[in-house]
């Protein structure tokens, strides 16, 4: 699905990501764990074009996407969330999802000026957005301002925005950290549902129980390097990993 080859990125002498090679399997849930500063988020930023690597390549479906702009990578079918929740808080929940809608004619200057086919498109977009909100369980909050939602609900909304992009691959940065156990269970169940629908999920997480529960593969990073990859039951039993990670 997505593969990184020999990827490196330094910030002023610190090797944030150090020759990482990784292959993410399609229609699977992969989690990336590791202590703070291990390079997990930097890896995501390199994969989505928000940072340019010093060396190495990112391949998506076999094609190199290194050097593309973030919006181009997003349009190829990679949706991502951010550790610090990024949403438009001053507009409604529904409008956030509408914004994320893929390939909108109405976003083009010409169509917007002449309202050419926008109404019909908006109607379809709204239906799709409502279906997504129902899927993540935010239907009753559709008309509320995004900023008025609880922290956990905002994380659900960022997931809903990703889904509106109709991606094949979701890269989620700490999707369940610091949220209510009830919403946590819901989000994990959604991951499994998404995989059934043919999507691939990669998430960075500190919550080991959540990782254990849903991951097909666990990737452990430390000091910019991948130090282990494997099934959760093997990787998370390894005393060396447990020690490195829990410290």
């Amino acid at each position: 699905m997505i593969e990184v080859r020999d990827l490196s990125k330094s910030f002023g002498g610190i090797r944030a990501v150090d020759k990482v090679s990784l292959r993410i399997e399609e229609k699977k849930i992969t989690s990336i764990i590791g202590p703070n500063g291990a390079g997990k988020t930097t890896l995501f930023n390199l994969m989505t074009g928000f940072l340019l690597p010093d060396q190495g390549q990112v391949l998506f479906r076999g094609e190199a996407i290194t050097g593309l702009f973030p919006y181009q990578i997003a349009r190829r079918g990679i949706a991502r969330t951010f550790q610090d929740l990024r949403l438009i808080r001053q507009v409604t929940v529904l409008e956030n999802v509408l914004l994320a809608g893929k390939n909108q004619k109405g976003e083009k200057l010409f169509h917007a000026l002449f309202w050419n086919g926008i109404r019909g498109e908006e109607k379809k977009l709204r239906e799709a957005a409502r279906a997504i909100l129902a899927f993540v369980g935010l239907t009753e909050h559709a008309g509320e301002l995004a900023g008025a939602l609880s922290y956990g609900e905002q994380k659900l909304l960022t997931l809903a925005c990703c889904l509106a992009m109709e991606p094949d691959l979701l890269l989620l940065d700490e999707p369940v950290s610091g949220i209510h156990p009830e919403i946590l269970e819901k989000i994990l169940a959604l991951f499994q549902e998404l995989v059934k629908q043919g999507k691939t999920v990669v998430f960075i997480e500190h919550d080991i129980e959540a990782v254990r529960k849903v991951s097909d593969t666990v990737v452990v990073m430390d000091e910019g390097k991948v130090i282990a990859t494997g099934k959760p039951e093997t990787v998370l039993q390894d005393p060396a990993i447990v020690e490195a990670y829990l410290d």
Binding site: A74, R89, E95, L99, G106, E107, H111, A112, W115, C161
Partner: protein, 296 residues
């Protein structure tokens, strides 16, 4: 009556300027001090073409819009790399450059002497020469640009603009080509400002650099801020308010030499008071001040 119509004509022209700047600054969050430069381009293109080539009002307008649109691409360029205060300063640079061209390229613009004798517009064999006709003409263009902008900001296109204003990184992650949007906004906003310049040139029949200084840019920004950033109706109110306020000074009986100075002091004081007590302006949905703080 003519005096009243004159004021209304000015208000119409400033509505075009303030609403078009609102698209750039209020909706997209790109505070620009270069709007008077676009305005000036529209006026100078009109003046030069009609004096040297006797071209018609509409052709002057279209060509003025084209030149201003091109300038829009150039002015948008730094916004792709720099943000907030730094971008404001960069637009200030463009304003200075354009003013210098108007003022110093004497062989083309006659410099500070300005260009007199711009003919009155002829549309479909009809010459616009009375105040009443000019009022109708400018009202028509003010309404037209208002409706056009209103369509834009209420469309999915406008939804993306607001997303760029609130969180550029989020917009990129959602697959929006932020660079393209910023450029388009400057092209559209700049081209509309050129319409205002064209109308002004044909109405006053004279253009000179003094009409397109940075103070003019700040006046237009004040209209946007006092009316309310992110509200088109607010910009209409802001334009009317800031044109009418100094006119009231005349009725207090201030000599015109003093009134001109008092006007600047008044604008400045209003801006300070609004920033302190009502940063979102008359009708705005958010304050530019807050926006700047959040985006850091």
């Amino acid at each position: 009556m003519e005096y009243l119509l004159h004021i209304l004509i000015l208000i119409n022209i400033y509505i075009i300027l303030s609403t078009s700047l609102n698209l750039i600054a209020g909706y997209t969050g790109l505070l620009s001090i270069a709007h008077a430069a676009f305005y000036g381009i529209g006026a100078y293109v009109t003046a030069l073409l009609s004096i040297h080539f006797g071209t018609s009002f509409l052709l002057n307008m279209v060509l003025g819009m084209a030149v201003a649109g091109l300038l829009g691409v150039v002015v948008a360029f730094p916004s792709l790399r720099i943000h907030d205060d730094y971008f404001v300063i960069a637009t200030f640079g463009f304003q200075m450059i354009l003013y210098s061209l108007f003022n110093n390229w004497v062989s083309l613009t006659r410099g500070p002497l300005g260009i007199p004798g711009i003919p009155q517009p002829r549309i479909l064999g009809l010459t616009i020469d009375s105040h009443g006709e000019f009022f109708l003409l400018t009202a028509l263009f003010a309404l037209g640009s208002y409706l056009l902008l209103s369509r834009l900001v209420n469309s999915p296109f406008g939804r993306v603009l607001k997303a760029i204003r609130e969180d550029e990184v989020f917009a990129q992650a959602l697959g929006k080509n932020v660079t393209l949007y910023k450029t388009l906004v400057f092209v559209v906003g700049g081209a509309l400002a050129a319409i205002a310049g064209n109308l002004y040139g044909h109405y006053i029949t004279f253009v000179d650099p003094a009409s397109f200084t940075v103070l003019e840019s700040i006046l237009i920004i004040s209209m946007v801020i006092i009316g309310g950033a992110g509200s088109l109706l607010g910009s209409v109110v802001g334009a009317a308010f800031l044109i009418l306020i100094p006119e009231l000074l005349r009725f207090i009986g201030l000599p015109s030499a003093i009134a001109a100075n008092v006007r600047q002091i008044l604008y400045g004081s209003l801006l300070v008071l609004f920033m302190m007590f009502r940063p979102q302006g008359f009708l705005g949905e958010f304050s530019l001040r807050k926006m700047g703080a959040e985006s850091k």
